[in-house]
């Protein structure tokens, strides 16, 4: 019950206009300052500023200056609630015995290096916020920067180039390649050939000269490997 009554009393105090009390509290100070933009001609319409995340609120005048009335002693964080420009945050300390001389520390961003600043605050916007991703326009060059497309282009080129290259080859080489191709298509043949090579038995069927096989040994090995994987 006592809890209830105290609550009711508290409720009453909330509703009634605060008489006298606000003046009986310790002295208040006034925090002044000015916001600036790098471009002095740009408008800075009524930007909202808060102390301690909204316990005191003010707006800038047309010239960018602002004032917080009746700031009680303590440590306060001044923040510019702009949606367009980035300003530093300022921590202000007001000591009860020196209300006229607030100590101010500026943070470019929370957690950044702090530096002491004089009291009538001068805050210049560091940057303006970019909410939109710039659209990269459609360009042919952009498409060709894609590695997949580059591969495609090479492949396509090969498609047209290969027959031409084939024509220019030696008839012997051509024959060789054709045989390899055959082998590729029939892995059992290739395996048996390989087996023959290792054991030295299969050479009767394939009287291929050693000299001829040498240059394509590498390619053969490769195809063999690929065949296995298939």
């Amino acid at each position: 019950m006592t809890v209830l009554t105290t609550l009711i009393v508290a409720l009453f105090f909330c509703i009634l206009p605060t008489p006298c009390k606000s003046d009986a509290t310790p002295p208040h100070a006034t925090i002044r300052g000015r916001l600036r933009l790098p471009d002095p001609n740009a408008p800075l319409n009524s930007t909202r500023l808060t102390l301690n995340d909204g316990s005191l609120t003010t707006y800038t005048l047309p010239d960018g200056s602002f004032v917080f009335h009746r700031v009680p002693p303590g440590v306060h964080l001044l923040d510019v609630q702009s949606r367009e420009h980035h300003f530093s945050q300022v921590k202000i300390q007001l000591l009860e015995e020196a209300m006229d001389a607030p100590k101010c520390v500026e943070y470019v961003y929370p957690g950044a290096t702090k530096q002491a600043v004089p009291h009538p605050l001068e805050l210049t916007a560091h940057a303006s916020y970019q909410y939109y991703e710039p659209r990269d326009g459609f360009s042919i060059l952009g498409i060709f920067k894609n590695p997949m497309l580059l591969m495609m282009v090479v492949m396509g080129g090969m498609m047209f180039m290969m027959p031409k290259m084939m024509e220019n080859l030696d008839p012997e080489q051509k024959e060789q390649m054709q045989r390899q191709l055959e082998m590729q298509q029939d892995p059992t043949k290739m395996l048996s050939q390989m087996w023959g090579e290792f054991t030295g038995t299969g050479s009767e069927e394939q009287p291929a000269p050693v000299v001829e096989r040498k240059p394509s040994a590498k390619a053969g090995a490769k195809t063999a490997r690929r065949g296995k994987r298939d």
């Binding site: 809890v3 209830l4 508290a10 105090f13 909330c14 509703i15 206009p17 605060t18 006298c20 003046d23 208040h28 006034t30 319409n45 009524s46 909202r48 808060t50 301690n52 995340d53 909204g54 316990s55 005191l56 609120t57 003010t58 707006y59 005048l61 047309p62 917080f68 009335h69 009746r70 009680p72 303590g74 440590v75 306060h76 923040d79 609630q81 702009s82 949606r83 921590k91 300390q93 100590k103 520390v105 929370p110 957690g111 702090k114 530096q115 002491a116 916020y129 970019q130 909410y131 939109y132 991703e133 710039p134 659209r135 459609f138 498409i143 894609n146 997949m148 497309l149 495609m152 396509g156």
Partner: protein
């Protein structure tokens, strides 16, 4: 052929991917396509003052295209400050807004109060001379202009404190030192006067109080500077006591400043002696003031010329007037004083000579105005004409329960004998019935036309126009072209159409514009234009003011209305229609007709065209198919209104409904206790459109309920249930049994209400609902129906089970059920105060019950639907008890000095400090320092057993000395196994975000194989299952957070983002991974890197590109709701609670299953066509070549 086609197809698919860039952020031209913002002035309709900068009298000018809307937390010019009802939200909103006349858009809006979170915020506004002036309750006077916003900002009290009092008698009056700063601003009041001699100036007056005596301060209207006395630059305040003494008025109790008056050439102040809230005419005085330039140039000074008492005779002079209703104005060397007699039943009007103070008065009874008038409410000065002053006198009639307003146009002037005359403008043949009753009227003197609104028998509100005669004695109704129905018949019959306010916002000789606000906040601007001899009525815009005070939101999936096969639409029996459409013959018919349409009706062409170019129509179709089109049903508790918005149509209001105007609280109930939002069967999900709204009416101690269709607002059934005590908890229940909709008094949506005295009632109270409750009690797989209550006053948490009373199985009515207590938890109210209570998101889809770690181990999520988070704050007395005296203050100072002196830079204190909760699973979080006193507690409870699962505390989290008596705001959200809350850290003066993740345990890499499984209970029991293992971390944030939301997707696969509404009026999104409590403190191990964990950093970055609200101003958001679309990648969010309602479609993992809106369909078509041509060409060439080779 195949050889060439394959690479071509490959190229094609490649191009498709290239053409659809998936951006994480918006492009500039995409803004506004998938989102919308509805802005309101922010103050609902209570005390709205359309303060156009109209200078009454000669210079009647409106600025082009712009209107001021100013808000009032208190009464317009309440002299005593008493007897005025605060708005439902306690008058905490101090918004001042400028609005465009022609389209109703809010141009800008600002907070007029300087103290932000204080529990006592009040302000008054005054519109004059092209500006609006505001004064808040701590004495900050501010001036605002349409184009440039804030113009001046002065502290009235602080300006006074350097000054001495005006004269000796005052110094003698009170023995204090004259430099005393004992002035206070009891009730903010603003007065104004226009002077034309010796210069044209508007003077603003403010009133300060000291020792029950009021002092007048005059300010320049352009700069807010105080005007000093001509005798001394140190004197500024005009004491009411001295002025009254000079006029030789007998003192009563308080001496008051009543008003500033001017008639162009002369200016004066009316003062009076009064009791607490009544004043008589005989105790008033008039003091003339002259303004002049000071000796040293441009400064303005004032001097008092003379003071005269106001003298009337007889009853008029001695009848007490209600102080707050006194209106004072001047006309032709006469001062007029008007006011209502006590009990608001009589109007007293008197005029006085400015020089001698002699005057005449009249007492006017209500029957002069209208026979049905029951009491007066207000007087407004409309205009000055040659023969007198045009006033609007408002009152209320006696038709209960819905008392209707009455507005009367009245001309007050001087009669032949120099006495006062009052004439009500009326139609000629007004007999005993008193003529038509006008709920609201606006009068444009330049046009001599008055626009009135009145509700008719059938509930519609109709506008009519009256042309006044030249002598302003009579008016006659004149016909108008155009739609005259202002408000259609209200739904549910709760007085939706009653017009409560009307304001003239524009007046020219050939056109006028008036703004009418109906109960519930529907505001409509009407323009009347003179077209030759006839009048043309046009509706300019309409808006819902209640959107500025939304307290909850429900999303419903929008589907096309069910139509008959012949295209007819029967709203009354939607289900029957739907069933009939499913008949075989109907289906065949519709198939045939669409086939016919495809071939004959140009269907092919249009489908090809729409493929190539994304037409608007196609887009709308897609919005339906992908579930982007939702109806969001919003409830405004303070304005007693439900508004439904269409999210696919830029927030167009689909329907609105008024609720019981005397209700203490309203709640929308939707869904079941545990139900999936995307339940395909639609019981309680977004597809189920049946909603139930409960309104608790204390005056009749009953709960009024309405069961309605959320899509159309059609009411299925309604009724009232008498209850014994207040609502403590509402449990939504859903009947899964289909029943025909034409059955009366039935509703599929059922609410089980737990009252504060631990009784239960069921709404709607009928057999069907009871069977639904029975069904829930005996639901298979669950051990009954559990409910819980949290009493914020006593700090008690009760977990209870609902049971049927024995021997009453056949009994109907709410007495059939009882509560059985299962468990209780207590937050000792002497030590802790409950700040916030949060529950898990109902219907959230959880994709996986575990998280896969980088080393292939599984971290099991603790998923308890009965989790409750209770945030408590240590009470001041408890804090004082446990903390060492004045330790905190010193600590702050010391650390501050340290930070000033050590300029090594770089490392802020946050990085050195070991963050809270950096602990391994199972270990208790280390206490940072032993001296820290915890002030905020976050407690996790199980609502079935009532047992405390986890408790974490934070130091420095209570409000500072700046704001007394205000509870800390701690927004909390529960999403899956995550609990996120934010609070303001008093030590760092920064907002901190606390993150907790709850886990059941961990399964090692090899812990789960075919032969090896963890020993686990398959059934979760709130009573027996072990408590969760909690991981926690605290992060800092550069901006304060007012509300937290989380993205919801259909299957929960898309990565989650938390949404924060920040103090700089934005909604930002934060990837959940960034807030993970498992972010390691040290160097990342490879396995942690694999998982995508980021090294811990004490601050969470705010990335402008991750700002869904981009350039929009979304102020003071109180909650963020979200719902899933039909495509997995998209999530829909709605932020509301402040003056703005913001909706956006988000893609937390980019649009992986959706072509972006800007997908280049045209190019794709061109490429496809080009490829086809190429293919054919190559084929031909190939053939040709083959033939040539064959011949060779």
């Amino acid at each position: 052929m195949t050889n060439t086609t394959l690479p071509l197809l490959f190229l094609l698919s490649l191009l498709t991917t290239l053409l659809s860039p998936q951006a994480a952020a918006l492009h500039a031209d995409e803004a506004g396509l998938t989102d919308f913002l509805l802005r309101t002035p922010g103050h609902g309709h209570l005390g709205v003052q359309y303060g156009h900068p109209l200078t009454l009298g000669e210079s009647r000018q409106f600025p082009p295209e712009v209107v001021w809307i100013t808000s009032e937390s208190g009464a317009p010019v309440a002299i005593d400050g008493g007897g005025q009802s605060e708005s439902a939200r306690g008058g905490q909103e101090c918004w001042v807004a400028a609005r465009n006349v022609t389209d109703g858009n809010v141009i800008w809006r600002a907070d007029a109060c300087s103290s932000g979170r204080s529990g006592n915020r009040r302000h008054v506004t005054l519109a004059t001379g092209g500006m609006v002036h505001t004064l808040d309750n701590v004495g900050i006077l501010r001036g605002w202009k349409v184009e440039s916003g804030l113009i001046y900002d002065v502290d009235v009290i602080a300006q006074l404190n350097g000054l001495v009092l005006s004269s000796k008698e005052d110094a003698g009056d009170d023995k204090k030192s004259s430099r005393d700063s004992g002035y206070i601003l009891q009730t903010p009041r603003l007065l104004s006067a226009d002077v034309h001699k010796p210069f044209i100036k508007t003077v603003i007056g403010t009133v300060v109080t000291r020792d029950k005596k009021e002092y007048l301060l005059m300010h320049h209207s352009a700069t807010g500077e105080i005007i000093h006395s001509s005798s001394s630059a140190a004197v500024a305040a005009l004491p009411s006591r001295r002025l009254l003494n000079e006029a030789k008025v007998k003192p009563v109790t308080c001496s008051r400043i009543l008003d500033l008056v001017s008639n162009g050439d002369r200016m004066g102040v009316i003062t009076g002696h009064s009791t607490e809230n009544e004043i008589t005419l005989s105790s008033m005085a008039y003091t003339e003031i002259r303004l002049s330039s000071s000796d040293d140039g441009d400064k303005m000074v004032y001097e008092t010329i003379h003071s005269v008492p106001l003298k009337t005779f007889g009853e008029v002079s001695s009848t007490p007037l209600v102080l707050s209703t006194v209106r004072v104005f001047t006309h032709k060397e006469k001062v007029y004083v008007m006011g209502f007699q006590n009990y608001y039943s009589k109007l007293i009007v008197a005029n006085f000579d400015m020089n001698t103070g002699k005057g005449n008065g009249k007492i006017i009874s209500m029957s002069t105005f209208h026979p049905e008038l029951l009491w007066f409410t207000s007087i407004t000065v409309e205009d000055f004409i040659d023969s007198g002053v045009i006033l609007r006198v408002a009152g209320m009639d006696g038709k209960l329960p819905d008392a209707y307003r009455m507005d009367h146009l009245v001309v007050v002037g001087e009669d032949q004998d120099g006495g006062v005359s009052l004439n009500k403008v009326s139609t000629k043949d007004e007999g005993e019935e008193g003529g038509p009753q006008h709920e609201a009227l606006v009068y444009c003197p330049l046009m001599s036309v008055s626009l009135t609104a009145a509700s008719s028998e059938d509930g519609t509100t109709v506008v009519s126009s009256y042309e006044t005669s030249s002598d302003l004695r009579t008016w006659s109704q004149s016909p108008m072209d155009g739609e005259t129905v202002l408000v259609p018949p209200s739904r549910g019959g709760t007085s939706g159409g009653i017009v409560e306010y009307a304001h003239l916002v524009e007046c020219k000789s050939d056109s006028m514009t008036g703004v009418f606000t109906a109960r519930g906040g529907l505001t409509i601007a009407l323009r009347v234009e003179k077209n030759g001899s006839s009048l043309v009525l046009k509706q300019l815009w309409s808006t819902e003011e209640a959107l500025g005070s939304i307290s909850s939101a429900v999303f419903l999936d929008e589907t096309h209305a069910v139509t008959m096969s012949d295209g007819s639409f029967n709203a009354d029996d939607e289900e029957e229609t739907a069933l009939r459409n499913l008949q075989f013959s109907n289906r065949i018919q519709s198939q045939l007709s669409s086939l016919k349409n495809f071939f004959v009706g140009g269907g092919i062409l249009s489908s090809v065209a729409s493929m190539a170019l994304m037409s608007e129509e196609k887009k709308a179709e897609r919005d339906y198919a992908f579930g982007f089109a939702k109806i969001s049903v919003l409830l405004s508790e303070s304005m007693h209104r439900i508004i439904a918005l269409d999210t696919a149509k830029k927030g167009k209001v689909v329907w609105a409904m008024n609720l019981h105007p005397d209700a203490e609280s309203h709640k929308i109930v939707h869904g079941g206790q545990i139900s999936s939002l995307n339940d395909p069967h639609g019981y309680g999900g977004v597809h189920d459109h049946e909603l139930l709204v409960l309104s608790y009416v204390p005056s009749t101690s009953s709960i009024e309920w309405k069961c309605f269709d959320g899509m159309t607002g059609r009411i299925f059934s309604n009724g009232a249930v008498t209850v014994s005590s207040k609502i403590a908890q509402i449990v939504p229940l859903r009947s899964s049994i289909h029943h025909p909709s034409h059955e009366s008094i039935s509703c599929r949506q059922v609410a089980l209400i737990v009252h504060e005295n631990d009784t239960v009632s069921v709404v709607p109270d009928n057999a069907r609902s009871h069977s639904t409750v029975d069904e829930a009690i005996s639901a298979p797989g669950r051990n009954g129906l559990f409910v819980h209550t949290v009493n914020k006053q006593t700090g008690e948490f009760h977990a209870m089970r609902v049971a049927r009373k024995l021997k009453s199985s056949l009994e109907l009515g709410s007495k059939a059920f009882k509560l059985v207590t299962v468990g209780t938890a207590l937050f000792d109210p002497s030590q802790e105060k409950i700040v916030n209570v949060a529950h898990p998101q109902r219907g959230e889809v959880i994709q996986s019950p575990s998280t896969v770690l980088g080393d292939d181990a599984l971290l099991l999520k603790y998923l308890n639907p009965h989790l409750v988070v209770v945030v408590t704050e240590a009470t001041k007395s408890f804090l004082a008890e446990i903390s060492p005296v004045s330790e905190g203050g010193n600590e702050i100072e010391n650390s501050f000095y340290k930070s000033l002196t050590t300029s090594d830079g770089g490392s802020s204190s946050g990085q050195k400090r070991k963050p809270l909760g950096a602990s391994k699973p199972g270990e208790a979080p280390p206490s940072t320092t032993s001296t820290l006193v915890p002030s905020l507690f976050v407690t996790l409870l199980d609502s079935v057993s009532g047992q405390i699962l986890y408790r974490v505390s934070h130091a420095h989290a209570t409000e500072s000395d700046l704001t007394e008596g205000v509870s800390t705001k701690v927004p909390v959200i529960i999403s899956e196994n995550w609990v996120v809350y934010t609070f303001f850290n008093q030590r760092t003066r920064r907002t901190d975000i606390g993150v907790l993740t709850l886990h059941e345990g961990m399964i090692d890499k090899n812990g789960l194989t075919a032969f090896n499984g963890p020993e686990q209970e398959l059934v979760f029991s709130s009573l027996e299952s072990p408590k969760p293992i909690v991981l926690s971390k605290t992060y800092g944030m550069a901006k304060a957070i007012t509300a937290i939301g989380v993205t919801v997707t259909k299957a929960g696969i898309t990565s989650k983002q938390f949404l924060f509404a920040t103090a700089n009026d934005q909604v930002i999104s934060m990837d959940r991974r960034l807030m993970d409590p498992r972010r390691p403190n040290g160097e990342l191990k490879p396995s942690e890197k694999m998982e995508g964990l980021v090294r811990y950093a004490p601050l969470l970055p705010i990335i402008p590109l991750r700002t869904p609200s981009h350039v929009y101003q979304v102020s003071n958001v109180q909650s963020i709701s979200s719902t899933a679309a039909n495509v997995e990648s998209q999530s829909l969010m709605l932020a509301y609670g402040g003056p703005d309602v913001f909706f956006s479609r988000l893609a937390p993992s980019k649009g992986f299953d959706l072509l972006p809106d800007d997908f280049n369909r045209g190019l794709l078509t061109v490429v496809v066509l080009g490829m086809t041509v190429l293919l054919v060409a190559i084929q031909r060439m190939n053939k040709k070549k083959l033939v040539t080779t064959a011949w060779l």
